[in-house]
Amino acid sequence: MDMKRDYYEDVQLFKSNVVLFWSAALLLVLFTIPLYTPNYYIYLFNIIMVHIILAVGLNILVGSTGQISLGHAGFFAIGAYGTVLMMTTFQLPFVLAILIAAFIAAFFGFILGLPALRLEGPYLAIVSLGFGLTIMHIIGGMDVFGGRMGVKVPPLDLGIKQLGISWILTTDFQKYYLILITTIIMVVGARNILKTRVGRSFVAIRDSDIAAEVIGVNLTIYKTLAFAVSAFYAGIAGGLFGFVLGFFDPFTFNMILSIIFLVMVVVGGLGTIAGGIMGAALITYLQYDLLKNIAEVPYFGALMVAVSKQWFTVVGLENFSSMAIGLIMIGIIIFEPLGMFGVWIRMKKYWMTWPF
């Protein structure tokens, strides 16, 4: 059912009119969401979409190229700080600032990609983890970046100050559309990258880097390129994330954040765009909404509070989210290594071949 007969079928964006219809319906829903949801959820949606950009980018690196990174919070931080600094210190317009910040992040991705040429598996994980921590310490230790006190973001001005055009987005409602459009562009871009020569090279490297080199894939170029592309996505996501939060300090971008990013990709499904999107949405929802306010969940919340009072501390109940995410990580590897995308594929196969 998924057989492709020519190259055009592989690269086309909508495989059939059904897919086209549902994509259009999804877009319609996404564009009208702010009209009928409370303001808090708009904030949540903004964070989810920022994480989707990042997870899709990280999936290009981890899922498609097979390089493990535990340092994406570092790129995320570079994006956030870079954008804000470009806007405050150099007075650049927002679009230019976020692009420059993302390219700086991509440059650092290229740098991190260099040791990755010689390392693999757990060694690479440790190096990238150290990279993330180092970025956090460097930003926290230099006064240019506001030090440990953090920075406050300037108003989000889409216009160009020098020409006197000003279009300031103030509410979450307005930011929602900016982030939504960016997310759609980035996701479609990622899908197109994976369908081209570059994307196929990435997949070849994941499956066997030696075999890929033998058939003529330049490992040096494509491995560092994978890091750079992934870091670029993280930079864009970081730039937007800063404006969603309004205020951040270096410890926002700690090691746990990098782990959470990896979890999104693994839970969603490695090597697929849809997997990154699903994982980011699920984990962000769990982390920012359901598990954060666990005490307010009906029935279960009361039970958890009682358990906390009896054996644990009530103030520590919010850490339940990190416990639950840890269990999700372990569970997904044990029971469903393909992630949510694997479940989706299985459901699709079941219904398509139904009576059999």
Partner: protein
Amino acid sequence: MVEGLAIGACYGLFATAVVIIYKTSEVVNFAQGEMAMFSSFVAFHILSAYQYPFWLAFVITMLFSILLGILIEFLFLRPAKHPSILGMIVITLGAEMFLMGLASWKWGAEQKFFSLPLNPSVTYEPVKGMIITNWAIAVFAVTACIMLFLYIFFKFTRLGVAMRATQQNKHAAKIMGIRTERIFSFAWGFSSLIGAVAGMFFASRATLDPAFMMEPFLRAFAAAVLGGLMSIPGVIIGGALMGLIENFFGYFWPHWKPIIAFIVIILVLCLRPSGLFTKHYVKKV
């Protein structure tokens, strides 16, 4: 200088725990730091809530840490059938998140003070200009004991030889009648114990909070990489080197101390990926 060596010995001790697991089962245990953290918290809890004497608390903590290691191996790693490297890393990271969440839930995220029954201000000066604190002596003694024990264990006992066999070739060891799964459990329990000892030393120097083992873990890993992830004596030397390097840099540029571990890891891995003291390994297709 001596202080740096003592911290280095702590790193070495902790890195030994990482290496034991890596040697037997080829898993880099990211949860090692949090396992040590959790055991230290248990010791703290026993001391503060039940007022037991220190040696009793120590023994209970050691038993607990062995149990913790075995439990994590049994519940989290064993059910995963043939996971990839990424899968293994995600499982240990998940265990780390789980333990961290549990510890912060139980004890709160604020900092606690944990002290060994050694007064750190008591110092000796055996040679002029060389000051040794009580803490450093305890670290050296414990490290030497554990090293001696490990040497005898791996060389002369049945279990130790079985562990080495499992490390060399898992399938062959299984055919020869070694219960490799039991060996894995044992390695986890054992390394959890060593990690807990190192964790208590770290905790008595700094404060005890659920995130306190993260940076020591990275530095211990740097020490392990420096010595080569496959050799225990190499790791101890690597730890000592790491402690000295860090002390040296901490003296001149105290601001950038946290970054040194990372730079060491990058340099060693780029120049000599198999570490300073092990044979170079060649990847087969």
